[in-house]
């Protein structure tokens, strides 16, 4: 087991490095920070040259990457040309905000998905089953940006109809709020509701279907038949035999979906005007802030890798067959 984890770690690191290199190449290829500058009349070639040097555009790609890499290992991700702060600071701020959303949405999503999926499987062909299937299809077919926008609009309408603000629609917290620690907490929690709801609905749509299918597979499995043949009550069969096996595959799916949840969070943040990784990314791209973009990708990729690794470990804990492998 330990060997398994170590091996995965060892593979992940070169992968991350390779990924950053590819990002670098893509980012460099895809944009030109002084493109706008060039098209302006009256800018002398000398000025352009100076600017080019500033951005490091006059050096070959590999050198620039190596530069970045050697700094990155030491924890220096450069300075953001747009924010004029170290990239690490900017990213750190944004990451806290986004991870709040992603983690809450994932946890709630998993719990709901399991509950709905298992119940739909146990009560196959019931009204609940068909109903949850229909809803799952509906939300699965909704782009995240659409759902977020609709929820936002509905919230605005409700707020208007009721007369005072029931739902928070803008931002991740109330700026300049003077309140106790608890007050801050509830404030942030309140702002979390709509964006989290968006992500939860979209995730649960897919995950609950998967859980249902897995549960059905398990319910029809031979070992469940054996359990029944032993004379256990249906409740015991489901709890001790079916569930234990049915929960395992979901771990893999959630891990694989993590990058999708992250992507969804980016979009959701845009809709609800959060100052998280999403907004940061858009800003960085708009302003062609190379250092920020690269740092962003590094963090995002690392998050995905770490999350997947954690899922692998948990999977090994759940399934004894993997442990001995």
């Amino acid at each position: 087991m330990l060997g398994y984890i170590v091996r995965r770690l060892l593979i992940s690191i070169p992968m991350l490095i390779a990924a950053t290199f590819i990002f670098f190449v893509i980012v460099v290829w895809a944009g030109n920070p002084i493109g706008a500058l060039r098209s302006q009349p009256g800018i002398s070639p000398a000025t352009i040259k100076v600017r080019e040097h500033e951005y490091g555009l006059d050096r070959p790609v590999l050198n620039r990457y190596w530069d970045w890499f050697t700094h990155a290992i030491r924890g220096d991700l450069g300075t953001s040309v747009h924010y004029h702060e170290p990239v690490t600071t900017v990213l750190g701020r944004a990451m806290g905000v986004t991870m709040r959303l992603v983690l809450v949405a994932t946890i709630i999503g998993v719990i709901l998905a399991i509950a709905i999926g298992v119940y739909a499987a146990v009560r196959q062909y019931s009204v609940f089953d068909y109903g949850s299937t229909a809803l799952a299809f509906l939300f699965f077919s909704m782009p995240v940006f659409w759902l977020a926008s609709v929820l936002s609009d509905l919230a605005v309408r409700i707020n208007r109809a009721v007369g005072h603000r029931v739902f928070f629609v803008e931002g991740e917290r109330t700026p300049n709020l003077s309140a106790s620690v608890f007050g801050h907490f509830t404030d942030r929690a309140g702002h979390l509701i709509l964006p989290a709801l968006t992500l939860v609905l979209v995730s649960v749509a897919g995950w609950s279907r998967y859980q249902r299918a897995t549960m059905l597979d398990v319910l029809h499995a031979d070992y469940v038949r054996t359990a029944r043949a032993k004379g256990l009550t249906e409740f015991q069969v489901i709890r001790r035999h079916a569930l234990r096996n049915a929960l395992i595959p979901l771990v893999t799916v959630v891990a694989l979906d993590f990058s999708a949840v992250l992507a969804g969070a980016i979009v959701t943040e845009t809709v609800f005007s959060w100052n998280g990784m999403g907004a940061l990314f858009i800003e960085a791209l708009d302003n062609y802030d190379v250092n920020l973009l690269l740092g962003w990708f590094l963090i995002a990729a690392t998050l995905v890798v770490v999350f997947n690794l954690a899922a692998d470990v948990y999977y090994g804990y759940l399934d004894p067959r993997i442990r001995s492998a």
Binding site: F137, S141, L216, F235, F297, V304
Partner: protein, 335 residues
């Protein structure tokens, strides 16, 4: 807790209602042993059973899937409406009329926007672009993906390992982000929908390649492949005659779902501002533009969005129906 498994009475009343996605009350695995093989298209003669051709079997099962059939009809109608709009609808998405921000009416079916452009015409145009992009991406990513996946799955080796590492890499990233960066390049070119489609394809083929590779990996171990080899069949023949037809099911299903995934991706990109540029229209862009005024001018936001969602729903149902048609032995993941 009551026993959901075996009813107390000999017969059970099956729950009614809901989209009939599976013949009601029947899960193939409820019947132990082989006493109930697939009789659907079998002809019963006095000598036993003879199976009809695979294709007819698949088609018959597809037509049984009610939700898929309804979706197919609706989708065809919507696609026709979108593509034929210039022929039956008075306005074009390019012309500025005199009514500004007017709600839906009999003249302007979906209303107009702030500069007088007819919303219905825009939605139809946006839909055609979405469909074109979706189809383009699906077709090309499938072709490339199947080609690469088949070869790597069949031959394994270094190329396979390298390719798998590469696709692993791209699985690490939030795809929207990378796509946004690449698409940003074409941000200020007008009429860039083709480039956008290409960019999306560049990432979409990898998933299909993985899927095909996985299929081929398992299929190549089957006994009939060994048998074919023993008979002296060439690699090409084995791939073309034995492996590919059996992998076709999952390939087609994935291709269908790629259409909807590509449409969503393009819409999201456009929503964020990195997608389609004028004069082309995207449903995503319309939703993005309409979101700010959704509470006052609902038609600019909800109508394009609903059109998009209904299209996506239909495609997903069809994909589900296809999945069922190709492999009904498992009550598998839907959507």
């Amino acid at each position: 807790m009551p026993d959901p498994f075996i009813d107390d009475r000999a017969s059970e009343t099956v729950a009614e209602a809901g989209p009939g996605m599976q013949p009601r009350g029947f899960d193939r695995r409820d019947i132990p042993g082989e006493s109930a093989f697939d009789h659907t298209a079998d002809e019963l003669t006095e000598f036993g059973v003879t199976a009809r051709s695979q294709t007819r079997l698949v088609l018959r099962r597809f037509f049984r899937h009610r939700a898929a059939m309804v979706s197919l009809v609706i989708l065809i109608l919507m696609v026709a409406a979108a593509f034929l709009a210039p022929h039956y609808y008075k306005f074009s998405y390019l012309e500025q009329t005199n009514s500004f921000s007017s709600p839906p009416s009999t003249t302007h079916w979906f209303g107009t926007d702030t500069i007088g452009i007819d919303t219905y015409a825009s939605v139809m145009q946006g839909a055609t672009k979405s469909i074109e992009i979706g189809l383009l991406v699906a077709i090309f990513s499938t072709l490339i993906g199947v080609f690469v996946g088949a070869l790597t799955g069949f031959y394994r080796g270094l190329v396979d390992a390298g390719l798998m590492r590469m696709t692993d890499l791209f699985l690490i990233m939030p795809d929207i982000a990378v796509l946004a960066v690449v698409a940003n390049r074409f941000r200020n070119q007008s009429g860039n929908w083709f480039m956008i489609a290409l960019v999306i394809t560049l990432f979409a083929w990898m998933y299909q390649a993985r899927l095909t590779r996985a299929e081929f990996l398992s299929l190549r171990e089957r006994d009939y492949v060994l048998a074919a080899r023993a008979l002296g069949a060439s690699d090409r023949r084995i791939i073309g005659r034995h492996l590919l037809p059996n992998a076709l099911g999952s390939i087609i299903v994935n291709a269908t779902l790629t259409v909807s995934a590509a449409i969503i991706t393009e819409a999201t990109l456009s929503f964020l501002g990195f997608g389609i540029t004028p004069p082309d229209i995207s449903l995503g862009k319309m939703v993005s533009d309409g979101a700010d005024t959704a509470s006052t001018r609902w038609w600019l936001f909800y109508l394009p969005g609903l059109f998009l969602i209904v299209m996506l729903l239909c495609i997903n149902f069809i994909g589900d129906g296809l999945r069922d048609a190709f492999d009904p032995t498992q009550d598998r993941l839907r959507a």
